[in-house]
Amino acid sequence: MITTGSKFLYGLGSATAVAAILWFIANDGGSIGVVSLAFLAVALIFMGAIASFVRDGHVLSTDTAAHASSNAAQRGAGRSWFPFGTAITAGITAVGLVSSPGIFKVGICLLFAMLGQWLIKNWSDRASADAAYNEKVRGWVVHPLEIPVGASIILAIIVLSFSRVMLSLSKEAGLVAISVMAAIVLAFGSVVSVRRGASRRVIGAVAGIVLVALSGTGIAFALDGEREELVKAAAEDHFAHRACGEEAEETDEDAARSVSAKSSVAATVILRDGRLFAEMDGWNGELNSITLQRSNPSTILFVNDDDHEHRMVVTYGKITEDLGGGVSKDKILEACTSLITKGGTQAVSIVIPKPSFASEEPYSITVPGIEGASIEVLVP
């Protein structure tokens, strides 16, 4: 009979033995550390054997008859999945160690979770003779951690899978997908709330199947990649920088991505019948010269009434950037919209730091590809 005390000593001894082997491998053998650890391991295992023999020196435990019928002895006879689970997670950790740090970290987390669960399970198994009560005790201790962590993992799976799906589908299909999804969630929720008697097991099973299906779809779509526009936009570094030349191709028919001010703007620039002109609140008629205030956030709205895709480019001088170490670089200040299809509008917000009379090149608004389309920008 292996008693509690001896188990502790055996365990410690085994761990020390493992440590000794690891030390041996890590330091190419022959160091004082290996000797000490090996000695310690042997000593601990020896002490464990003694403890086994004297049954931890516990009076009651020498009473084999009473012990055999005690509650602690009744429990633990059942099968436990924990050694298996621990072995698996340890395997994952080992694989991670040689392959990738990501898997290693996951493995470590799983290993700790598994060991923690094992510990708690063993502890709670000894709380009383009543298995149901023991289960409750276990709940008291670990549910506060288990439930939120489990919930966040499930949430993360849902969010990640769903977002992969949405990023992969085209905009139109995405609209349908989200509607269907919302309808299903709503219908399921209504059924559950109306049919109070529905078995928890059934509901859980349905939710579980949906979760598995969702994560499967998510993985499938993630492997498939994001939709074409997004891939292209990312390749062109669309979000960080909008190239203003003709060559960049990304389009955004529906105008600015930001929550942008589109009313009471500083100026509206319109391309119509090959002519570029501006309209400004407070000035009557079409303008080919606009006055903007210096150092002032000005929003310019571009309206493309031409049949082809066009972009508007605002050029407003250059600044000299200090790159440090006495090196400086001239940077042309320009801002532009994306390519806009017919009827599209997009706003650009700019802050012009210098007056136009202080600049060698005049400030202007142009549309690449349209000859002579230019609006003069004056900054007093």
Binding site: N284, T291, P297
Partner: protein, 406 residues
């Protein structure tokens, strides 16, 4: 006896309220009085609000009288328990319909006025007005009618005082460089917020030459109380003179004014980083261009070209004129006003005290986040004018130079 006292209960408040209303209408001396329109836009508002105030007053008096009567008549004098009535539908409907009718009567002219005040197609002159912490910039674009009718052949940039010609439909394009401000000259029109990123239109028209006070009315941070403005209305002839003066090319102080020449040098060292004086040349002969965007959060500082034509400084918080000279301009009759205003600030009239205090330590005079030790949050930029640490001699020279800017 009793009934006469009862009557006096009712009459007294009527007299009090109406006399207050009348007095409010007659007070001639508050510069931002909202009940003294001096232009057609403000007049439109006044014509609308006056009857509404009277109606409100009358309704109020009726309610007070009813309450007073109920309190007096139905107090507990041992009468029997009143009838437990839950209402009289006919009476209730009547008393609901009456306010509805009154409000319809008020609503119709309101709608008309709203649209009249939003009209922009009759504009004769357009001026950009830009608010920032804590002053206003006016720039007069040199295009369209501005150039053709009013002779503004080059853009004019000023601050502190908006100058407009008499009986001219001016349209202000109001915007802001940093936070939300609000432009308000009570005697000329209601207020309009200046919102960064947006351009709002405000009609302005003065029918009598004179100077009209205003104040920023949207809370705009620390020094909100010191963000004032003035609007100056000039006759058309005087306005032409003013424009011509503004457009005159810059000349350095004459050689016999050594102090001012020294001031110009000092100005280039100390002030020209942020403050523009059009036409001022650097020592190497290139035109001086201020770069306030590198030093100030809002990216602008008042343009000081022709400073001494303006009468005020530091967001119109202080006068450039001594109190006597100021009164002389402010109280001038509409005929004399133009001449007195165009005289600008002479050496005798200069308000040396406030200007020198300002140059000595501006943030002490007007609260600004201009503490050089606390610039980390603003990327090293000031929010207003910092203390420059000038010596008294330097201040003398600067004042002498600034006096030359007319």
């Amino acid at each position: 006896m009793k009934s006469s006292r009862r009557w006096s209960n009712i009459v007294k408040p009527v007299v009090a309220v109406s006399s207050l209303v009348a007095l409010a209408g007659c007070a001639k001396d508050a510069p931002q009085d909202t009940w003294q329109p001096a232009g057609p836009n403000a007049k439109m508002i006044d014509d609308l609000q006056r009857p509404i105030f009277y109606i409100a007053g009358i309704v109020g008096v009726i309610v007070f009288a009813a309450v007073a009567w109920a309190v007096f008549r139905f107090r507990d004098r041992g009468q029997a328990m009143p009838e437990q009535t839950h209402g009289k539908p006919a009476l209730e409907i009547t008393l609901t319909v009456i306010p509805v009718l009154i409000l319809i009567g008020v609503g119709i002219p309101t709608v008309g006025t709203i649209f009249d005040l939003a009209k922009t197609d009759d504009t004769e002159m357009t001026i950009n007005v830009t608010g920032q912490q804590w002053w206003w910039e006016y720039d007069y674009p040199a295009v369209g009618d501005n150039a053709q009718v009013y002779g503004i052949s080059e853009p004019i940039v000023t601050s502190g005082q908006l100058v407009i010609p008499e009986d001219t439909k001016v349209l202000l394009r109001v915007t802001s460089r940093d936070v939300i401000h609000s432009y308000w000259i009570p005697k000329l029109n209601g207020k309009k917020d200046s919102v960064p990123g947006r351009v709002h239109l405000l009609r302005m028209e003065g029918s009598e030459p004179g100077i009209y006070a205003g104040q920023c009315t949207e809370f705009c941070g620390l020094s909100h109380a010191y963000m004032r403005m003035e609007a100056v209305v000039l006759s058309k002839a005087d306005y032409a003179t003013w424009v011509a003066n503004q457009l005159e090319p810059y000349t350095s102080p004459s050689a016999d004014n050594a102090l001012a020449l020294e001031g110009e040098k000092l100005y280039l060292q100390q002030c020209a980083r942020c403050h523009q004086v059009n036409g001022l040349l650097n020592p190497d002969g290139t035109p001086n261009v201020a770069a306030p965007d590198q030093y100030v959060v809002s990216g602008a500082a008042p343009n000081l070209t022709n400073l001494m034509t303006r009468n005020t400084f530091a967001g119109a918080s202080w006068d450039l004129l001594t109190p006597e000279c100021r009164d002389d301009v402010w109280n001038a009759t509409s005929e004399e006003f133009g001449e007195k205003y165009l005289a600008g600030v002479s050496e005798d009239c200069l308000n040396q005290k406030d200007l020198r205090e300002w140059l000595r330590n501006a943030p002490e005079k007007k609260p600004m986040y201009a503490d050089p030790t606390k610039l980390a949050d603003t990327g090293g930029k000031y929010r207003g004018m910092p203390a420059l640490g000038l010596t008294e001699d330097q201040i003398n020279a600067l004042v002498a130079y600034l006096l030359e800017l007319k």
